[in-house]
């Protein structure tokens, strides 16, 4: 408890420092922020109102204090271009990004956790069957040759080749399964998310017509329609995140599977599922948790590319439009929000370490 309070105090200090530094750096930019932000398109009186609101010309500390008090009291400022308050924009922009983040994390973990456990379990095992290395290449090569001769589409060809590889590696068993999972993870890791997004769009929205590119539907308009409007971008973001999670979990699991306590559990006669899920999984999730905590920044940043491609009006496109419009006053508020969420999420992760590994609590009470 004392630890949590200390960490919370630290978090507050970090937030003040971060927001002040960004605030101060903005004042270094040349020109009157009110004129820059509106691009000279609005009336003089609006600029004058803006200058009063922002206390332009005053000492930077006074201005920061003013902005800070407003921020804490919930007044996030307004855009002088269209007169909408940032709060109104957030109410509209945050839910799509929030749901997209939630679902994509579910997809990423749903792929990475079973995949990582499976790969780690198989990594140390002997192959079930001895299939010579050249055989899969020969079979895949044969499929390619036959497909070209028959004139099948490249798409069918790729699917066939993937299918053949999966079957062969599965027949091999043991470490070959790990190789299959790890290679797939590397493949996903090396494909940029924009490619995944476009290919996904083409496959599911155009070729198979399984997804409507109609933008975001809030849950209030029906849960089914809501999920239907977000599933494809969630899968795309989830798949692009999953290889990172998978590799981290796999590495930690492999390391922990070599611990003595695993041998003790085997000597106790525990089945592999119990050993993997009850003994090894929990101490292997620390790195995964850390990285998942860092990804929380996406709640405010948004997944810009996917949001734009899938027509989801979320935080990503909002942030970009404000940047392009040079509305640094709004950007400042958004930076503060990012920092707040980031610091809080990582505070939560730090506290969660103690839940996952009781030894961490001892270290803390000593320190």
């Amino acid at each position: 408890m004392k630890y949590a309070l200390t960490r919370l105090a630290q978090a507050v200090v970090i937030l003040i420092v971060v927001t002040f530094l960004t605030f101060w750096m903005q004042t270094l930019l040349p020109g009157n922020p009110c004129i820059v932000a509106t691009g000279g398109l609005t009336s003089d009186e609006l600029v004058a109102k803006c200058e009063v609101d922002l206390k332009v010309g005053e000492n930077v500390f006074v201005r920061y204090a003013d902005w800070g008090t407003n921020f804490i009291s919930g007044d996030l400022g307004e855009s002088y271009v269209n007169g909408r308050t940032v709060w109104d924009d957030l109410k509209q922009r945050f839910p799509p990004t929030g749901f997209l983040f939630l679902y994509s994390q579910v997809v990423a973990l749903g792929v990475a956790v079973p995949g990582g456990i499976w790969a780690a379990y198989m990594a140390g095992r002997k192959a079930k069957r001895n299939i010579p290395t050249w055989l899969p290449f020969a079979i895949v090569g044969g499929i390619v040759a036959v497909s070209i001769a028959l004139g099948t589409s490249v798409f069918t060809l790729i699917l066939l080749a993937i299918f053949a590889t999966v079957v062969i590696q599965t027949l091999r068993g043991g470490a070959a399964q790990d190789q299959l999972v790890s290679a797939s993870a590397f493949f996903l890791l090396s494909v940029p998310v924009v490619v995944l997004a476009i290919v996904g769009q083409w496959l599911f929205a155009i070729r198979w017509n399984l997804y409507d590119l109609s933008g975001y539907t809030p849950p209030s308009e029906g849960l089914f329609d809501h999920v239907k409007s977000l599933w494809l971008p969630s899968v795309v973001i989830g798949l692009s995140l999953s290889p990172v999670y998978l590799r981290l979990l796999r590495a930690d699991m492999i390391q922990n599977l070599q611990q003595d306590f695993v041998n003790v559990a085997k000597a106790k006669g525990m089945p592999p599922s119990t050993i993997l899920l009850r003994h090894v999984l929990r101490p292997s999730t620390l790195t995964l948790l850390t990285v998942a905590g860092l990804n929380v920044a996406q709640l405010v940043n948004g997944a810009v590319i996917v949001e734009v491609l899938y027509d989801v009006d979320g935080m990503g496109s909002y942030l970009v439009s404000k940047f392009l419009g040079r509305e640094f006053i709004v950007v400042q508020t958004l930076v503060a929000l990012i920092a707040t969420i980031f610091v809080l999420a990582n505070l939560a992760v730090d506290l969660f370490y103690g839940v996952v590994d009781p030894r961490v609590r001892v270290e803390r009470s000593k320190g």
Partner: protein
């Protein structure tokens, strides 16, 4: 007892064969450098209720023997030979029987108590786990028995301990917990792999005494693996000395200390400090190093370090001789025999053994 397989018939009608029978066990590991021959033909038997100590230095194959019996070897290992337990062939057990075999009939205590408990699980959970899985006990029953077991292995206030995590206990206490875990399902065979090596000397004695008491109480058989002949003394019925993956001498503990046959055993005995010796007596170290298990010679593996070594020792692997089941040893020129004394005398006279080891005056014979 939901899906426990039927108990073997030997439970009602005790068979007259020994509980554990290891025959011509060979284990090799694939390594980048080549085939590591960890175990090269190990034979032994263990009667119900008896203790066998397996003694040897690092790399002699004693831990690999234990892990082979427990089926804990990595997949790079190739195993040959048979391991009979009760009326089972341990290397070909049906899946249904194997499910409730390890941890129930055979249990193991590991070397390092600091790493053999799961750091993120409470002592209670680790103790009750196997009872609930193998014996189908309810959580409450298993917890009650866990408390009883912790009391039995000498842990004070056991009811509080089951709520604690391993890092809250000392090394000696943790090893007691590991022993309690091994005893949870009342095994008939307990394998203790260097159970005291990682502990303080004072704690060592407590743990060994505890193991001895529990063994007598439960009537179980025990394999005590150690690199310390002193630990085996007085606690084992029988002692097997291992060298380079073979048992080079196997006999009753009293016989071994009175009249060792293998020069390696003889040398080990000379390297133990004796209370009866005057203070500052120099111990006799064993010269050289253990052999490389990848390039084992087609000869006695101990010959390069042996003061008795003759030309014969470098030509072929000495077969096991002596009285079968009573005192077996694998040596052409056994210590404490005329043949051995002659061999040593000629080596001393020449100043070197057939393997080229330089020796000074050295008196053959057991330690009195």
């Amino acid at each position: 007892m939901t899906d426990a397989p039927p108990l073997t018939e030997s439970d009602d009608a005790p068979s007259d064969q020994p509980l554990l029978r290891v025959e011509d066990l060979r284990v090799t590991f694939d390594s980048p450098r080549g085939m590591v021959r960890a175990i090269n033909g190990v034979d032994f038997t263990l009667e119900q209720g008896k203790t066998l100590a397996i003694v040897g230095e690092s790399g002699s194959g004693k831990s690999v023997t234990a892990r082979t019996i427990m089926n804990l070897l990595p997949s790079t290992a190739t195993i040959e030979g048979t391991i009979g337990f009760d009326d089972l062939d341990l290397r070909n057990v049906s899946k249904a029987r194997a499910k409730h075999l390890m941890g129930v009939d055979i249990a193991m205590v590991f070397q390092d108590p600091m790493t053999s408990l799961n750091p993120v699980k409470r002592i209670g959970a680790q103790l009750t786990e196997s009872m609930r899985y193998h014996l189908g006990m309810s959580r409450a029953d298993a917890t009650e028995r866990a408390i009883e077991l912790l009391g039995k292995v000498g842990i004070p206030s056991p009811a509080q301990r089951i709520r604690q995590y391993p890092h809250e206990l000392s090394g000696g206490m943790r090893q007691r917990v590991v022993i309690a875990i091994a005893l949870a399902c009342e095994p008939r065979l307990l394998i203790a792999d260097e159970p005291t090596t990682a502990l303080d000397v004072t704690v060592q004695k407590h743990i060994l005494d505890l193991l001895g008491d529990l063994q007598a109480e439960e009537g179980m058989s025990m394999i005590l693996i150690t690199h310390d002949l002193g630990v085996a003394a007085g606690r084992a019925d029988e002692i097997a000395v291992m060298y380079a993956g073979r048992i080079v001498e196997r006999t009753s503990a009293t016989q071994l200390f009175a009249e060792s046959r293998h020069p390696y055993t003889d040398a080990l005995l000379r390297s133990i400090p004796q209370v009866s010796q005057p203070s500052h007596t120099r111990l006799t170290p064993i010269p050289g190093r253990p052999p490389d298990l990848i390039n084992l010679p087609d000869a006695c593996a101990y010959a390069p370090r042996c003061r008795f070594a003759q030309a014969d020792c470098l030509e072929s692997v000495p077969p096991v001789q002596g009285v079968a089941g009573m005192h077996e040893f694998a040596c052409f020129f056994p210590a404490n025999t005329d043949r051995g004394r002659e061999a040593l005398a000629s080596n001393v006279a020449a100043g070197t053994t057939a393997a080229g080891l330089e020796i000074e005056g050295y008196v053959s014979g057991g330690v009195s």
